[in-house]
């Protein structure tokens, strides 16, 4: 199953992810900075604010939507260059994501989750498309959570590149607890594993926040370093002769399997075929939690104040250091929860190969960038990337339409383009051209 897992893992994630994303960082920072010392032009205060920061309605979606369409268009050109029909390829990828399931309407029956009752249902819950969709949503779950890890820190003015490491720390703790305490009551076992994983991720990321708050170590540097620490500690833990390596087969560098009682319930599809666990509901719930914390709590108020203007926050009696630490900790908690959901939801075991190939944290970062750190945006961005990865995997894509080994690269290309275009900031480009028109020199 571990091999399976690795295949479906987006190990083809952008090779230069970190560099590309840092560029994004600078752009976004620049945008923030420009938004700060406002009314520059006499008489038209806050034009930028009005246009971009507080864009309402349709315009809030225009930027990300345009970015995505442009990326797909350029990806289509690449497909064209390989001698295939881009429309057919995209259609096949779409079918591979299982999102076409929603369009296959008929008269079917559904077994209510966790019961034996069958009722009439609009869709066929056991079709191939349904299985594809389960896979897509399984991948969407950790991307949502690592996306939130970026989004939450960003609201505090921090750029958390450490989602990957925090996700892994969560996965390790989930494995450790999930493979221990074999006779624990199942619900308590799952809860224990999830809570401990989340807290560990919080502590791990909180460290970066604490260092930023106390000695001013830049969070981009520290979180990147913490990523590597997490990767290699994990490689040691689950590698040959590692302390958490498989106790039965000493030759295989892999962990023990999570005991049945610690697995998240699968409510759609078969456990053996990697059906959909309730992890997706945890992720969706966290989107709501994120919105509430940010917009409706004093904690979120402080985090946003610090994120927009640390000086003003400090002058108003808000502790900047405390908020840096706390925001990073909460961000790390989200990412680690994603790791726990993966381990307890469908992976059940972990080896150094999986650890080193995993890119979920960086895909989450792309989802957050694309979704402009808004809950709905992060959710949709995660679905886009989750669907892309799943739809282009060699299990899903019809090899007669497009060779899957190329398709994986296509995913990488589209991901990279999306991040690149977000970095460029399409809104900024539009503004530039408008200025040019205003002043033909």
């Amino acid at each position: 199953m571990s091999d399976d897992a690795r295949d479906r893992r987006p190990d083809q994630g952008p090779p230069d992810a970190e560099r590309a994303l840092q560029t994004g960082d600078d752009e976004l920072r620049a945008e923030e900075a420009e938004a700060a010392p406002q009314p520059v032009v006499e008489g038209i205060p806050g034009v930028r604010t009005a246009l971009f920061e507080r864009a309402r309605g349709f315009w809030r979606f225009a930027g990300p939507l345009g970015t995505t369409v442009l990326a797909f268009f350029m990806g289509g050109l690449v497909v064209l260059a390989t001698g295939h029909n881009p429309l057919r390829v995209y259609r096949a990828i779409f079918d591979g994501t299982g999102l076409n399931w929603f369009f296959h309407v008929g008269s079917h029956s559904i077994r209510l989750p966790f019961s034996t009752t069958h009722v009439w249902f609009w869709w066929d819950t056991s079709s191939i498309a349904a299985q594809n969709l389960q896979q897509t949503l399984l991948l969407t779950t950790p991307i949502i959570l690592t996306g939130l890890a970026v989004a939450f820190a960003f609201r505090c003015g921090l750029f958390n590149i450490g989602g990957q490491g925090q996700y892994l720390v969560g996965a390790y703790i989930a494995i450790w607890i999930g493979t221990s305490f074999a006779h624990m009551q199942p619900f308590a076992h799952v809860l224990l594993a999830i809570v401990c994983a989340t807290l560990a991720g919080a502590a791990y990321a909180g460290l970066a926040g604490f260092l930023k708050a106390t000695v001013g170590a830049h969070e981009v540097i520290t979180t990147i370093m913490l990523n590597w620490i997490a990767i290699w500690v994990g490689s040691y833990l689950f590698g040959q002769q590692g302390p958490l390596q498989n106790s039965a087969q000493k030759a295989i560098p892999i962990s023990n399997d999570v005991v049945d009682g610690a697995k998240l319930p699968v409510f759609w599809g078969l456990k053996l075929l990697q059906g959909l666990s309730i992890g997706i509901f945890i992720a969706l719930a966290m989107l709501v939690v994120y919105w509430i914390v940010i917009n409706r709590t004093t904690l979120g108020f402080e985090v946003r104040a610090v994120g927009f203007n640390p000086d003003a926050a400090r002058a108003s009696g808000i502790s900047v250091a405390r908020n840096y630490t706390l925001a990073m900790a909460i961000a790390g908690g989200f990412a680690a929860l994603g790791g726990a959901c993966d381990i307890l939801g469908w992976e059940y075991r972990l080896g150094p190969g999986d650890i080193q190939a995993s890119q979920i944290g960086f895909i989450g970062l792309a989802a957050a960038l694309l979704g402009r750190n808004a809950p709905l945006g992060v959710g949709l961005g995660a679905l886009l990337f989750g669907g892309l990865i799943n739809g282009t995997s060699d299990r899903q894509l019809d090899p007669t339409i497009f060779p899957p080994e190329l398709a994986g690269n296509l995913t990488t290309i589209i991901q990279g383009l999306v991040v690149l275009f977000i970095g460029i900031n399409i809104g900024g480009v539009a503004l530039f051209f408008r200025r040019r028109r205003r002043r033909p020199s």
């Binding site: 938004a35 006499e42 008489g43 038209i44 604010t49 917009n295 203007n309 108003s316 009696g317």
Partner: protein, 508 residues
């Protein structure tokens, strides 16, 4: 002095999204005259001058030089046409010498690449002697005073062949003495046939130096009048469109108990140098104590230390008897200090935040704005709506981001928040910086109201006029020390002298 205008702007219209910054503005400049451009913030002065300096292209209108229409597509074109601008914020390179700064970009060269420094120095010396702009060509720019830096800017413009000089709020950064010296320079330039556009919102200066005055209001020229015979009251009315109270009208102070006591306070700045040295002062209930001084003489550090934003190396700060030395900003706020920061964009407001959120910056953590860590947005909004009404904040609803307001309205938001917290001590640091006449009047009235309500008000301002008209007692700060105490009847000259360290008196 020929009567035919040297420069003529006709029907200039400039539209920005949602705003008409200049509406059919006409303006002319005669050779050898000082023409003042007067107007509130947002009246369109800067837009007009930026058009003249080639930074913006007007949507309509023509610019003519010596009767010939010219096209100013860039600053380079403006400079070639002999138009020079001295910005409010100097554009100098601090580590270079005066001569190097002046010849920058048009350096005299030896061979193709080497700077001919001797030639540069010679040219600078010639220029400075000709116009009476005394400045040492070999001094490094970061080692000379602000007044001298301004001269370097003027020399730079002259070096590039400027016949028309635009001075944008030139006295904002100067002491009264330096301002007088600047006026001497302007008169000398005028005698040499240079023409000067003098932008300001300080009425008495405009009356003193200008030959003619053009007033802008909301992008429209109200009138152009000769300075002779104009009065401050008349100009203020033209600027604002209604009668304005220029002098602060206030009953005599009735000071009570000391609410703010500072004892032997010593504070270091960011570089670790002593910025505040052994300062002792007290502010009593019901009085306004003004601190006068040239910029960067320790005022900011003094206020930061009182407000809990900077560590004090020695000394004590007491609010109503309670020791708040080196307390956190939150403890200081809770002890009853209200703080109107000198930089409202940096410290006073979170610009992307809505007005509701900005007004709740202190209150959000207390009932009823929040309960058990959850905000009460409805209540916050109601409070904001009430405060916006009471403080006459215009141009926004509670949901508007603070960055979208004009400077004056932003300052009203800060003041509303600080006063609504009912502090015992109110610190007002440059509370009217960058505000127009109407907004200044509002701020002054509120400060006097707070004084009369029994609060202790500590006012720090670089505007001597403001300190003189508001304060009940005036302390002069120089190089981090309080060097004198004056009654409000003191003259600007007396204060100005103390501000430059001359005639130092023992602190009271």
């Amino acid at each position: 002095m020929a009567d035919a205008p040297l420069l003529e702007l006709r029907g200039i219209t400039k539209r920005f999204p949602g705003v008409l910054a200049n509406d059919d503005v006409s303006f002319d400049l005669r050779r050898g005259e000082v023409h003042a451009l007067l107007g509130e913030n947002g009246a369109g002065k800067s837009t007009l001058m930026n058009i003249l300096y080639g930074l913006y292209t007007p949507d309509a209108g023509t610019i003519a030089l010596d009767g010939k229409p010219i096209d100013l597509g860039s600053t380079k074109a403006a400079i070639e046409h002999g138009i020079g601008m001295v910005h409010q914020h100097f554009m100098l390179i601090p580590v270079m010498t005066v001569a190097e700064n002046i010849v920058l970009a048009t350096e005299p060269r030896r061979g193709a690449v080497l700077l001919d420094y001797d030639a540069a120095r010679r040219r600078v010396r010639e220029l400075s002697e000709r116009y009476g702009l005394a400045v040492d060509p070999d001094a490094r720019v970061d080692r000379i005073t602000v007044g001298q830096q301004q001269r370097v800017e003027i020399l730079k413009a002259l070096y590039r062949g400027a016949e028309i000089l635009i001075l944008d709020e030139p006295t904002a950064v100067l002491t009264p003495q330096e301002a007088q010296e600047l006026f001497e320079i302007i008169r000398a330039l005028k005698e040499q046939g240079k023409s000067i556009i003098f932008i300001s919102h300080k009425l008495h200066e405009v009356l003193e130096i200008a030959d003619r005055i053009t007033t802008l209001r909301r992008g429209v020229v109200v009138d152009t009048i000769p300075a002779q015979g104009a009065t401050e009251e008349g100009l203020a009315r033209m600027m604002v469109g209604r009668d304005v109270l220029l002098r602060v009208d206030k009953p005599p102070a009735q000071p009570g108990e000391p609410l703010l006591v500072v004892e032997h306070l010593t504070v270091v700045d960011d570089r670790g140098l002593e910025a505040v040295r052994d300062v002792s002062l007290e502010v009593r209930a019901g009085e306004i104590v003004g601190i006068a001084g040239v910029d960067a003489n320790g005022q900011s550090e003094l206020i930061d230390a009182i407000a809990g934003l900077r560590h004090a190396r020695a000394g004590r700060v007491l609010v109503d008897g309670r020791d708040i030395t080196n307390a956190t900003a939150k403890e200081v706020l809770d002890a009853g200090i209200g703080h109107i920061p000198e930089d409202r964009h940096r410290r006073g407001l979170v610009l992307p935040f809505s007005l509701t959120e900005n007004l709740a910056l202190h209150e959000y953590r207390r009932e009823p704005d929040s309960h058990l860590g959850f905000l009460n947005p409805k209540r916050m909004q109601e409070r904001a709506a009430k405060l916006l009404r009471e403080y006459d904040v215009r141009g926004g609803t509670p949901a508007t981001p603070a960055g979208a307001l004009s400077g004056g309205n932003q300052q009203k938001v800060v003041i509303a928040r600080e006063i609504d917290a009912q502090p015992k001590v109110l610190i007002a640091a440059q509370p009217t910086r960058g505000l127009d006449v109407g907004a200044i009047e509002f701020v002054h009235r509120r400060l006097v109201e707070q004084r009369d309500a029994g609060r202790a008000v500590l006012l720090v301002s670089l505007e001597l006029e403001e300190v003189l008209s508001l304060s009940d007692r005036i302390l002069v700060i120089y190089e981090g020390r309080i060097v004198g105490e004056f009654p409000p009847t003191a003259t600007e000259e007396e204060l100005g002298l103390a501000m430059t360290g001359a005639g130092r008196r023992e602190a009271a």
